[in-house]
Amino acid sequence: MSYDLTDDQRQIREAVLKHCAQFSDDYWLELDEKGEFPFDFHRSMAEAGWLGIAMPESVGGAGLGITEAAIMMQAVAESGGGMTAASSIHGPVFSLEPIVRFGTPEQQQRMIPPILRGEQKMCFAVTEPNVGLDTTRIRTRAQRVEGGYLVNGEKIWITNAHVADKIMLLARTTPLEACKRKTEGLSLFFTDLDRRHVETRLIPKMGRHAVGSNMVFITDLFIPEEDRIGAEGEGFRIILQGLNPERILLGAEAVGLGRVAIKKAAQYARERVVFDRPIGMNQGIQHPLAKCWAQLEAANLMVMKAASRFDQGLDCGVEANAGKYLAAEAGFEACHTAMLTLGGMGYAKEYHVERYLREVLIPRIAPVSPHMILNFIAEKVLELPKSY
């Protein structure tokens, strides 16, 4: 049992931190103010080959595991890029996994390399306005037609849909009433986001303004047969495989954001002198920060345990969920504590921690809420009756 990064993993972390240091705190602050996608950051990460970290070498990736992807995404958030930087490259880093596992070789070669090279951007569309976390009830309908499917429906919260060239879409191909189980009859597609049939509307939201999330209205979108990933009706089973990696990465990012928040806070506390002493000489300032550090590092161990289990092909559902939960809560407390440490200046944009606080709420809510995680642990680990 080893709790430390290997030399190779440390090299990845250092290289990512160094790469990201090109993008200053002011870069992220300005994009957040303008609500402008971090095109330069996205392009530079693609050009340096980082987007394919966990993709196989056969499609232009580096063939590393989710552990390395988590280390990378943590460094991206920790560099000060926060959830803005992380969410701008999330799609390529882990959402393509279903194509690797269930796509044909032709689909893999056609779909994946342009995304890894940064020539195309993608979004991942599951959530719907009228369904919530009860994913199997989604209503977006893909009806069989000659040569493919005709799709109609609505999605919500779809990150990057307004800038994407491609959409990975979960839709119902067999009506719920005609299925034996509610997990059946859903299919997964990866296709052109054809704006003649797909309208996107940005949702005004609390933070991460540079990386928008959208309402998506799909009207008579034709999807050719060759853009369906895996067998018809298998979509739910296919996306389930990607849920654990997504939780692991979000958890790693939340820890990264928490770390940069307490780093900024500690720096301020060393320098700010009030009542003739640095505020950081007061235990009332020290202890909350030290507690945040301990919580973040403990959460990180659970996240990395989940990642290592995933990479060994072991079941990691409980660890991935627990890790995401612990990391998001610890990240939130760290950002909140950082703000209180800075006092009035914590509320000023130029000190950055208020932006972190607005962003750290995202991993708390998405991709799955703390309630649902605790429901899951209660059921699976504590063997309590299923509550949902």
């Binding site: 030399d7 440390r10 090299q11 990845i12 290289a15 050009e47 080959g49 980082w50 394919g52 580096a62």
Partner: protein, 250 residues
């Protein structure tokens, strides 16, 4: 032409160093280490020479602890072809490092050796000069431009108040200044490729070099903490204090 580049493992430039309580050295426990920034510039320059077709092989060598392999890997990820680690426990003084590098040069026969002008930990600014002298080769220090022309290298040097250009017969020794180039960021594919590149490990004794210290470190202390300023009533008092207390004007 083969280019040899020396790289040193040092405390990362972002780290605020602290002397050990007994003043016997700098506290390195749990401190982030990195490739010396001037050495990184040297690696970049060598890789650019290779990309321009001037060099055909870039060999990086580090004299230091086992962990200096990390810095060699970093250099390999930037584009160097292979590494040599000359493993030495104690902190070597510049003369010892220069002697080790001389032995490596005699074995490798490079056409050009590039080093950083100094390392940011010891700030000695000696190794390149000592190496050139030991080898009897020309030296172009503080380079801000390096152009290989046939069997000579033209080096633009950053000297006080301006630039000086020298032409040296190859083989020669060049040390880098800050403005020579801006090192690239290692890409993931190159980091992966670097894992497969060879690093040879040897020791000073195997190269027949005696690295015993000639100087003894007596102590390390932090700079004095900055004192708060004072307010003066008028210009006369200011002039008086500058003359009689600070003694900076006559």
């Amino acid at each position: 032409m083969k280019v040899l580049v020396a790289v040193k493992r040092v405390v990362d430039y972002n780290v605020k160093v602290r002397p050990k309580p007994d003043g016997s050295g700098v506290d390195l426990a749990n401190v982030k280490m990195a490739i010396n920034p001037f050495c990184e510039i040297a690696v970049e320059e060598a890789v650019r020479l290779k990309e321009r077709g001037v060099a055909d092989e870039v060999v990086v060598v580090s004299v230091g602890p086992t962990q200096a392999q990390e810095q060699l890997r970093t250099a390999l990820a930037l584009g160097a072809d292979r590494g040599i680690l000359v493993e030495a426990e104690a902190d070597l003084e510049p003369l010892a490092v220069a002697k080790v590098l001389k032995a490596v040069c005699e074995r490798e026969q490079p056409g050009l050796v590039i080093l950083g002008k100094q390392s940011i930990d010891g700030d000695n600014n000696q190794t390149g000069q000592l190496l050139a002298a030991l080898l009897g080769w020309g030296q172009g220090t503080f380079a801000s431009e390096v152009v290989v022309e046939g069997d000579r290298v033209r080096v633009t040097r950053e000297v006080d108040g301006g630039l000086q250009t020298v032409s040296l017969r190859l083989p020669a020794v060049v040390t880098t200044d800050l403005r020579l180039n801006e090192p690239r960021y290692a890409s993931l594919p190159n980091i992966m490729k670097a894992k497969k590149k060879p690093i040879e490990v040897t020791r000073p004794a195997e190269l027949g070099v005696d690295v015993a210290r000639r100087t003894e470190l007596l102590g390390v202390e932090p700079p004095p903490a900055r004192k708060g300023g004072i307010k003066v009533a008028d210009v006369a008092e200011l002039v008086d204090k500058l003359r009689n207390e600070a003694k900076v004007i006559g």
